[in-house]
Amino acid sequence: MRLHKHAALLSAALASVLALAACTGGSGATADSGDKQVNLTVWSWDGTVAKSVAGFQAANPNITVKVVNAGSSFDEYTALDNAIQAGSGVPDLAMFEYFAVPYFAIPGKLQDLQKYGAGDLKKDYVQAAWNDVTVNGKVYALPSDYGPSAMFYNDATLKKAGLNAPPATWDEYYEDAQKIHALGANYYIAQDTGDLFFLLSLIWQAGGRPFKVSGTKVHIDFTDPATTKAVAFWQKMLDGGLLNTKVTAWSDDWNRTLNDGTLASQIMGGWLTSTLPERAPQAAGQFRVALMPQWKAGDKVGAENGGSSFGIPAAAKHKDAAYKFLEYFTHGGGVAPRVDAGAFVPNTSVLNGADAQNKANQYFGGQKVGAVLAEASTSVASGWQYPPFFEWARSIYGDIASKYYTTGKIPLAQILEEWRQRMVKYGNDQGFQVD
């Protein structure tokens, strides 16, 4: 759910105050009265979690659930780290983006959920999502929402460029990019100002696995053939001037290019479905969703761009009750009200259900968007790993990448190499064995 993260960044100063406030607020909520009445504290910036509380409390009258927004993404992680360090105010459940699970799991800050029977739930989730919550063979969280990478394209713009279908392969994508740019200097097939998550999803789909994590050992390599292929392709797009490198995602400029049709497509997580109608109301009926273009014609390989899960901190007070609620809202009866409220979950029963498959979305010209995103989810290639210090790593990626996007002098491959070197240095400083 990176969109929330960006909103938070805008008022980072404010948000950190909020995180502090939430931190102190949480400490009072874990009191246990001893007569088996349990008060659970849940940290979540996913608003749909609260929708499943009523049903859970009705079935479990001795458990009271309090859902608290302790900040989004890294604000929450900071608050959680502080609470763990202080030894008080630790929530019973907390939300983690998939890339943050190893950060908490490897230093032992998360509870292994296998003893509660979480291992049996594997078959009920998309394989790649399950892989995201599994670290070194142990299950540390349950997936709560998912971001399969998908291509959102403006059908009207494509038609204007003489294209009747979205590009099915990356070769077609390159050709289409030229046709779209031929419509006018402001027309581009996509924007990119150094979007790390997009680049990683491109590498992911191509089969590159640049991070290999085993215990506290991390191996980073951006030179394997699949990664090189993906990076070289995007380099070709950049060198050809086929991408809008002036307009950054989530900015006001971006909204405008989405509205006026000059931005022909955007490859992003499926969660863009929920925010696109607000961002581009004038383009209502023009956008469609498709799978990512493929490296080989006829293939159906996807990648991931975002998504989150919930885990139980090792220092939590009410782990049994916490797991009960966790199972309920990510797997059991609590999933349905969350889906109704707009959550996109990686549970196979939901993805294959009649509702997701058949519902027409008017904003997308009546397309059955759910069916496309379900296919995008189930086709996500598995085996991807994030290093445990990814939150830090992604924050400094822009330091290096912005040199390319403003001067064009340094190739992407070199950016990734510099990034690797800084990760190696930081990781070893932090006590990991990184090479």
Partner: protein
Amino acid sequence: MGKRGRKQVGLAFIAPFASLFLLVYVVPIGYAAYLSLFRQRLIGGNTFIGVDNYRKLVQDPQFWDGVSRVFRFTLIQVPIMLVLAMVLALALDSRRLHGTGFARVSIFLPYAVPAVVSTLMWGFLLGVKYGLFGSLDTAAGTGLDPFTPHTTLISIGVMVTWAFTGFNMLIFYAVLKAVPHDLYEAAALDGASELQVVRRIKLPALRGSLIIVIIFSIIGTFQMFNEPQILPSMVANSGITTYYTPNLYAYHLAFTGSQQGYAASLALVMAAITIVVAYAVQIRGLRNAFDH
């Protein structure tokens, strides 16, 4: 006996201030100093490392990059802002303008706008593609971009100048208001021109406050944080790095890098640098004041 009693009464009077000062000022600094002797690691936890953080810091090119940036910024932005503020204060004090009350408030108003809000506002104003600046730029065909790595600092300078000129002007204006009127009358009797009054009476009167204002401004710019923290989410590739200013670097080290000890040592070194610079300005300013 009586003397001692009076002393204790005095202590009681400063106690409310002293206890708060200790609690919110001395104790946190002491704690930061304590933290700066430790290293936090994701694997291995907290270890005492003595002054290693400081040793690492003086060899950290990213830290010095940020320090040199705020120095350059201060050297250029502060004089421009203070000259502007002084000119405005003199203009308001000249009694030849109409609507000075309104002008005073509206020049001061930007100071009351929170930096987060003003950065957002300027981000929109200076937006290359659709902002006001972008529209003017397209109309004139100049192809300027206020947010490239070479121009971002200038844009931030504009924002900061906009925000703080009014505040500094108000200080200057208050000082000018306090100049006794008989001085002006005497000058008028001696046949001094308006310019001579400014040179001989008003500017010398401003000298003391100038030093205070320079010190405030140096402290303010050395602590620059909001603008470089917010801008990257609005404009692409503005050249703002995670170590753009020392304060921003400390924030990233502590909250994304979980290197609180290192961040604490950075904060203390930066505080020391600021104190040295502010002190140098003060000594130099006082010496000048005595010379005249």
